[in-house]
Structure formats: structure tokens, C-alpha cells
Symmetry: C2
DNA sequence: TTGAAAGCGCTAACAT
DNA sequence: ATGTTAGCGCTTTCAA
């Protein structure tokens, strides 16, 4: 520990001194950059190990002009669907961390609050380094962020200019209705998501397309992606169309509420009404009966988005699509019918 | 924009030049530090607004020696309970963000992977600035982190030296059993959590205390905090003790599985078997019937932990306790009995 | 291949 | 109250 200030972390100068080389050489070795002989490389590596040296990322970032951080941005538009209330964010987090593990890039979480998301977005844009992953939010906000930084990938359908990793929401919704239809269901109602939510919009399109192809009646009502909303929506539907025999619900949380509501009216799931949710989140294995759901590969999508940022392989309008497949569980089981 | 390098962000020097003051004065005004006259303050503020100046946090951090970041650390000990599979982390995230909103402190998420959490923890410890929030993990790991940094708060029961924000897990478990007892239940079984999980240990103690006080039989089995584990555990219990009339389950996810399993055996919840979960997470409103659960104020705890770090009001061994209260729902309803 | 030296943008002593 | 200056720990020219 000769020459090292006591108590504080060793700096690159301490390493250089211990190895008997210049700071520049130490830096080259530490960064695996060319321009250092094998002998000196050894000596520096030894010194690093001896001193327990770890580079100061802040100084590194300032000197090089680039920090290694990925920003995860969540826009809170609806207090009822804030971070804590929804398992979605856990999955996104997990996916991002998968891409980040062992590569020395940090994850920063940013929240753009509902009162002034625009200025929040502007502030975030200025600080982006590796780039940002947009977990939700309106196309307008996404476009603004993208305009300011370009290092952005959206996890939801968004403005055409913004690079995005997208799930096949339309195809998923179509497949859900198709599945209900294949089960012999002919009065298939839908509980849609919020009007302005891009995922919800896509799923609505898929439902419409399916009922048109299968020549079914369009029985639908709007929900808000909450359990309570799904519960209320299901009751509305049943009251309006008592002979419903299938339900396509635009998210698992609403589907959980719908199953509860259907049960309350004395109907059985899936015997009287088959239900298909959307997300394949933890919620789908907590309902009773277990919820058949369209699998949204959220973790994989978040991992892919993060990798795109890391490799810099994003161009305006870039799209990477993920399939949405049916995960069949008890809420559409044939056995019980 | 006179004197400002085109294309790059304005620096504090640009601001100083525009305002016709020294860099130091500009810094004082920007940081609301004393030592600047009203006139100059005005001029600097104007320049900041004109240029759209925003301080470079990296440079600020390097110069001042302190970065403003809170680290959230998740230890992944069980792949089945990784970030994505559990709504817990969403809630923690939400709680932390609540404390951080509008105060210009960043949240970094760190994951200590199962293969080598110790070295991961050591690496993290060296980079702490404001401090770290430990979302889970063993007391040993927590102690090690605390020893290296001291700026740590645990969200789970942990080593005595480590400051912690703790829920009254023991009292909560006791209250759960008490509630079942007050409903007339006398054969109250428990599905415990993993042996080494400190939360699970506390809840087990609460259960034991309650059955001892109420003079009940200790009917229990171990679970793993997963839905599948809860399902299997409930089946084991029912087979071993077919006359069970109450179940205390150490987490909501397992309780969801337990309700499903109980239903499968032809028993009704709550008519035949009343069930109480633990967490009051989103899972508790997705089960059917709705799950009575002990409310763990996770968001509030995370907020409190973050505030402790921000204010620096932590001392070794510090404890802040949160109550765990019963949230009664249908799985222990009296109506249905 | 190696080293010396100039910053990165800011804060904080220290002068004035 | 204001300005001057020396760093923070590192990367990265540039010269040798």
C-alpha cells in the first residue's frame, strides 16, 4: 500500500506507481486498450489485484464523455396503474437486468410523473448515455424524447419514428378470439383497455378483425387495465348480453376481475364462459380457475431492447417484433365443459 | 448563444460568460449557495434560462466527491423468485421513486446474482453514494455490505448491525392466526416460507406463538414462496390432516396456489377452509375468492428506507418498525359460512 | 511501446 | 461579494 493515501480508494495513480509505469500505461492495461507490452501488462494487473483497485466510474465518465448507463423510463399517467400496482414493471426490470449482467453498465430508473411528463422527458433526454428504454407512454411523448436523443427504444407500440421492440398485439388478440371460437364459443365479448393506450388499441384491432372474420357480434366495453375495472366491465357485459359464452380481456389484471364477476353472477368459468387474458403475467396463475392468457414476452422484449441500445443497432423507425402465443390454462379448458 | 460551442450542451462557463460573472459566482447561484448579490443572481438565472443550461451531474459528482444516487440491491438466490416473477420488486421500486421524486437523486438498480453474490456486493459497496437499499438477501451478505459501507438499509429482517426498516412479521402472523381463531377455526395449518428467509422465519415464529397461546395443534409444512410450492404444500397438508379448517400462508403467491389446491380437493374457501395470506400484494385481489391478507406496507417501507438514506439518519442497528394489519377479504368471510 | 500533459465540467478553497 | 485557481480521477491526444 506504499504511496497510497490511507482510507480512500486507490486511484489509477496508485496503481501506476505500484507497477512502476505511467498513468497512461496503467489506463491502457485497465481498459484492455492496445499499446502496452506484455511485461507491463502483467505488472499493472498485479498492482490492480494487490491494491484492490476498481476504476472510479464517475471520473471515467467525465473524462471519456460517456457514462455507461441505461435508463428505464416509466410514465405514470394513471395513479391506479403506478409502478407498484402492476407486475409489468418487475418483468421489464428483470429483462433489462438480464442484458446488463456482468457488463458493467448501470440501470437507472426514471419516472416521468403525470403532472409534467414533458419537462421530465426533456430533462432525462439530456442525460442519456447508452440510451433509454421507454416502458410505456404516449406516442407524442416518445416522439419528443426520440427527437431529443435518438437513443431510445420503446417497449410499446409508439410513434413511427421511434425504434421499438413490439409484441404482436393484433395477432395475439386475433388468436385469442380464434381460440375461443375453436372451442365452439360464438358470443365472444371483449373488455378493451384504455382508449389512448397503444397496446390496448392494437388488441382492439385484433379483436375486431377476428369477429369480422368469424362473423361474430361485436360485444365490447372499455376497461382501464385494473382488476376493479375488469370486474365492473364484465358485469356490464353480462347484463347487456346475458348469453355471452366467451370473453377476451385485454390484460390479465382485468381478466382476474372478470372471472370473479362472472362467478358472482352464478356462471362458471370455463363451463359457461371461457375467458382469455393477455400478458401471461403472474396474475394468470393466481386466478381460480387458472387463466388462459396470451403470452407477452415482456422479459425477452426488455432484454432485446437493452441489447439494441448496447450495440447501438437502432435506426429511426426500427422495429423488432415478438410473437404473442397462447398459453392455455383452465379458464378455457375443454375438460370442464 | 454567444461564445457557446455549437452542438454541445452549454457548460457553466458558457453561463458565466453570458452573465458576465465568474464561474464561481455562477456555481453559487446555480447551487443556491450563499455569496452572491441579488443583481448577479438575476443575471445568472437569466443566462441559465436563455442557454437552457442544465448542470452536468457527472462533473458535479466528480468535483464534489459525491454522486446523488440511491442503489436498490436485489439478491437473486432463487431463480424461481427472480425479479420478474414477483410483484414485490414493483412495489419496492414504487416506494423508492416516491421518496426520490423531484429531488434530483437517481435510482440505480443492482442485482447480485446467485453465483457470486459476495463479490457483487463488494463491488457495489465501493460505489455507493447516497446509500443502498437491500430488498432481500441473507443477514451474512447484509452484514458484509454494511461493514464495507454503512450506508445501507435493509427492507427485510437482517443482521443486528444493519439498519433496517422492518415490518412486524411476527405480529402479523400472530394476528392472522388470531383472526382465523376468532372465526371459530381450530385446526389452523401453516404453509411456511423458505427455511433461510428471514421474513419467513419471523412469520413462522408468529404462527407458533399463536397456536401456543390458543392451544392449537401445530400443523405445518414448508413452502418456497412460489405459487406452485403453495399448491403442493396445501395438498400435502390436506392429505395429512383432512379436517383442516384454516390456513395461514406465509405469502400471497403461495396462498393463491393453496386456494386452488383446496378447491381441487372439493373443499370450499372460506366455507370449509378459511385462508389468510401475507403481503397484500396484487395477487390478493386476483384470487377467487379474494384473498384475506396481512398487509405488508412495502411501498411505505421502501419510501422510509430511502428517506433514511437521504437524510443520513441511520446508525448501526437502527430499526424502524411498520405494523402489519389484516385486510379482510372473501377468503375468510363470515357470510359464506 | 511508453510517458507527459491537457483537459472533461464542475466544486470548493483561497484570495481579493 | 466576487474572482482566481487548484483539483476530483480518469481518458486521450501528442511527443518521444
Amino acid at each position: 500500500m506504499v504511496g497510497m493515501t490511507y482510507g480512500s480508494r486507490p486511484t489509477i495513480d496508485d496503481v501506476a506507481r505500484a507497477a512502476g509505469v505511467s498513468r497512461a500505461t496503467a489506463s491502457r492495461v485497465i481498459n484492455d486498450a492496445p499499446g502496452a507490452s506484455g511485461v507491463l501488462r502483467q505488472r499493472v494487473r498485479q498492482a490492480v489485484a494487490d491494491l484492490g483497485y476498481r476504476p472510479n466510474e464517475i471520473a471515467r465518465a467525465l473524462a471519456s464523455g460517456r457514462q455507461r448507463a441505461v435508463d428505464l423510463i416509466a410514465v405514470i399517467d394513471n395513479p391506479d396503474l403506478s409502478l407498484g400496482a402492476h407486475p409489468y414493471y418487475s418483468r421489464v426490470l428483470a429483462g433489462v437486468m438480464t442484458a446488463l449482467e456482468s457488463i458493467n453498465v448501470q440501470l437507472r430508473v426514471q419516472v416521468a410523473a403525470e403532472d409534467d411528463p414533458v419537462s421530465a422527458i426533456d430533462a432525462i433526454a439530456g442525460d442519456l448515455t447508452v440510451g433509454a428504454i421507454l416502458a410505456n407512454g404516449s406516442p407524442e411523448l416518445a416522439a419528443r424524447l426520440h427527437q431529443r436523443s435518438h437513443k431510445v427504444v420503446s417497449l410499446v407500440p409508439t410513434a413511427t419514428s421511434v425504434p421499438a421492440v413490439e409484441a404482436d398485439n393484433i395477432g395475439g388478440a386475433y388468436a385469442a378470439v380464434q381460440h375461443l371460437h375453436s372451442l365452439g364459443r360464438r358470443r365472444i365479448a371483449a373488455i378493451h383497455g384504455p382508449d389512448r393506450n397503444t397496446c390496448a388499441i392494437a388488441r382492439r384491432i385484433g379483436y375486431r378483425r377476428a369477429i369480422s372474420v368469424f362473423r361474430l357480434r361485436d360485444l365490447n366495453t372499455a376497461g382501464d387495465f385494473t382488476r376493479e375495472g375488469g370486474h365492473a366491465a364484465a358485469l356490464r357485459l353480462i347484463e347487456a348480453y346475458p348469453d355471452i359464452d366467451g370473453m377476451f380481456v385485454a390484460c390479465d389484471l382485468m381478466a382476474a376481475g372478470a372471472i370473479q364477476a362472472i362467478t358472482v353472477t352464478g356462471r362458471r368459468v370455463p363451463h359457461d364462459v371461457s375467458v382469455v387474458g393477455f400478458d401471461d403475467s403472474v396474475v394468470s396463475i393466481c386466478t381460480n380457475p387458472l387463466l388462459t392468457s396470451m403470452r407477452l414476452p415482456t422479459e425477452e422484449m426488455a432484454t432485446a431492447a437493452t441489447r439494441m441500445l448496447l450495440t447501438g443497432t437502432i435506426t429511426p423507425g426500427h422495429r423488432q417484433r415478438f410473437p404473442v402465443v397462447l398459453v392455455e390454462r383452465d379458464s378455457t379448458s375443454r375438460r370442464d365443459r
